[in-house]
Amino acid sequence: MKSLNFSRWFPSGRTTVIGVPFLFLFVFFLLPFLLVVGISFSQQQLGIPPYTPLTKIEDDVFTLVLNIGHYKFMLGDDLYFATYISSVQMAFVSTVLCLLIGYPMAYYIARASESARDTLMMMVMLPFWTSYLIRVYAWIGILKNDGFLNQFLMWLGVIDTPLRLYHTNWGVYIGMVFSYLPFMIMPLYAHLVKMDLRLLEAAYDLGARPWKAFVQVTLPLSKNGIIAGSLLVFIPAVGEYVIPELLGGSDTLMIGRVMWDEFFNNMDWPMAATVTCAMVLLLLVPMAMFQHYQAKVMEEVK
C-alpha cells in the first residue's frame, strides 16, 4: 500500500533524494564558512553577539562596513607570522615521521599472511576507536621529567639527568605521530595490499636487487597511498589544538591554539574568525589535493 503512495512522487523525486542531503551539508557546512569570512570583517564589541554587524540601513542609506583591521594586524604582526610558519613546520615534521614509521608497518602488514593481515589491521585501527583525548593523556605519564621514559633511560644508564620532553615541541611531535599514525597506515596498506606481486617477481627475474625493486616498483605503485596518508595527517595536524595544549609548552606556537585563545580567552570573535580564514587559506591547496585524490579513488572502485 505504502509503496503506491511513494511511487507517485518517486520518479520525479530524484531531485528530492539529492536535494535533502545537499541542503543539509550546505546549511551546516558551507554556509557557516561564509559567515566566518563575514565576521572576520567586523569589529569586537561588548554585548550579544560580541561583534558589530557589517551592514546597516539608516535614513534609507544602506552601508556596508568592512573592517580590514584584523587582516592588517595579522599580516604585520611577527608573532602571527611565526605561528603560521611553526604550525606548517610542525605538521610537516609530524607527517614525515608518520610516513617513516607508517610505511614500513603498512608494507609488512600487506605482505603478511592473509589471515594475519585482518588482525594486524584491526590492531592498527583499535587505538583509533579508543578515546583520542585519553591516548594523548597517556603520554603525559611517559614524557614527564619523572615519567616512565626518563625512569627507564636513567635505569639503563643512558642518561643521568632527565630529558625534557613534556611541555616541549618534542612532546607535540610524539603525540601527533601517535595519534595520526593509523590515518597514515590505512591508505598505504590499501595500496600495498592490492599490488600485483608478479611485478616484483618480474623485477627480480630481470636481476633487480630487492632495494632497487622496491624503489622502482613498489614505491611508485604506492605513490597515491603516500599522498593520501600524508594529507590525512598534515591537514588536521596544522589546526591541531589538543596535542599542543596538553603536551606542548607555552612557547609551542600553533595556529589552532592561537585561534582558540582569541576565542575563549580574549573573547575576540572577529579576530578568531580572521585567524580561521587564514588557516583555511593555508589549507586550500592540500584540501584541493585531497579532494582530487578522493575523487580518483571513487573512480577506481567503479
Binding site: 542531503p21 564558512f33 553577539p49 591541531e240 585561534m259 585531497f290 575523487a295
Partner: protein, 281 residues
C-alpha cells in the same frame, strides 16, 4: 621464489616497534590505574581505590550520561543522513553540482575541528539573531555539530559498500515490479546493513570522544565527559582519569573485537548464501 618473501626478522622488528609504540602508552595507563599512589608514575602498591572514587564523582557521572545521550542521538542521525548522502554519492552522481556535493562530504574528514567549531557556532548565533532559534547553546547545537563530524564517515563507508554491491538482486526486484524506494528499503538496505552498523558505531565513539567541537557548541549546563576530562588532565596527571581511561579502553576494545568477529562471520555466511543462490539460478 624465496627471494620474494620479505625478510622475517626485519618484519618482526618493524611491526614489533610499531605496535609497541601504539600500545605501550595504553598498557602503562591501564597498569598504573591500579596504583595506590596519587603520584601516577610511582608505583606504591595495588589498589582499586581510584575506581571507587569514580563512582562517587558526581560531576563525572552526570557528564558521562550526557555524553552517552548525545552519542546515541548523533549515531542515529548520522546513519540516516550519512546513508542517504552515501547512496547519492554512489548511485546518483551525475548531477551538475556533484563536485561540490562530494567536496562537502570529503572536506570534514580532514578539516581541523577548530575551523568547524567556530563556523558552526557563528551559524547558530546568526540563526538565533535572525530566527530566534536555537535559543542559546546546548544539547541540540552539540548534536548538530557531532552529526556534521560523523556524516562524512558514514557516507564514505556506505558509498564504498554500495559501489561493490552486486546489482543483480536490485535489478531482479525491479523486474518484478518493485518501485525504486521499495527496492532501496527491502533489498539495498539489508545488503549494506553491515556498513550501517560500522557507521553507527564509529559515529557513536567519535561523538563520545569529541572535545573541540563540543567546546564551541556547548552552553551552560551542557558539559560533556571529554570537557570534564580535558579540564582535569590539562593540569597534569590524575589517577582518577587513569581509572576512567581504563574502563573506556576495555569497553571499546571488547566492543570492537566482538563486532569485528561478528561481522566477519556474518559476511562469510552471506557470501555463502549468495553463492548458493547464484549457483542455483
Amino acid at each position: 621464489m624465496s627471494t620474494m618473501k620479505p625478510s622475517k626478522p626485519l618484519s618482526i622488528a618493524v611491526l614489533g616497534f610499531g605496535y609497541s609504540f601504539l600500545y605501550l602508552p595504553i598498557i602503562l595507563l591501564v597498569i598504573y590505574s591500579f596504583n595506590e599512589s596519587k603520584l601516577v608514575t610511582v608505583w606504591s602498591g595495588f589498589s582499586t581505590k581510584w575506581y571507587g572514587a569514580l563512582l562517587e564523582d558526581d560531576e563525572l557521572i552526570t557528564s558521562a550520561l550526557l555524553s552517552v545521550k548525545i552519542a546515541l542521538m548523533t549515531a542515529t542521525a548520522s546513519v540516516v543522513i550519512g546513508t542517504w548522502a552515501g547512496f547519492v554519492m554512489a548511485r546518483l552522481n551525475r548531477f551538475r553540482l556533484f563536485p561540490l556535493f562530494a567536496g562537502m562530504i570529503n572536506a570534514p574528514l580532514v578539516i581541523p575541528e577548530v575551523i568547524q567549531g567556530i563556523s558552526l557556532l557563528l551559524l547558530f548565533v546568526a540563526m538565533e539573531q535572525t530566527l530566534g532559534w536555537p535559543e542559546g547553546r546546548g544539547v541540540f547545537t552539540i548534536w548538530i555539530g557531532h552529526v556534521m563530524l560523523c556524516v562524512s564517515y558514514v557516507a564514505i563507508i556506505v558509498q564504498s559498500r554500495v559501489r561493490e554491491l552486486n546489482r543483480s538482486l536490485e535489478e531482479a526486484a525491479m523486474d518484478l515490479g518493485a518501485r525504486p524506494l521499495k527496492v532501496f528499503f527491502v533489498i539495498t538496505l539489508p545488503l549494506i546493513s553491515q556498513a550501517l552498523v560500522s557507521g553507527w558505531l564509529l559515529s557513536f565513539t567519535l561523538s563520545l570522544d569529541d572535545l573541540v567541537l563540543t567546546a564551541f557548541l556547548s552552553g551552560p549546563g551542557s558539559t560533556t565527559l571529554p570537557m570534564v576530562i580535558f579540564s582535569r588532565v590539562r593540569l597534569g596527571l590524575n589517577p582518577e582519569m587513569n581509572a576512567l581511561a581504563t574502563l573506556f579502553i576495555i569497553i571499546v576494545s571488547v566492543g570492537v573485537v566482538a563486532g569485528n568477529l561478528y561481522m566477519r562471520s556474518v559476511q562469510r555466511k552471506r557470501d555463502r548464501e549468495m553463492q548458493l543462490a547464484f549457483n542455483q539460478a
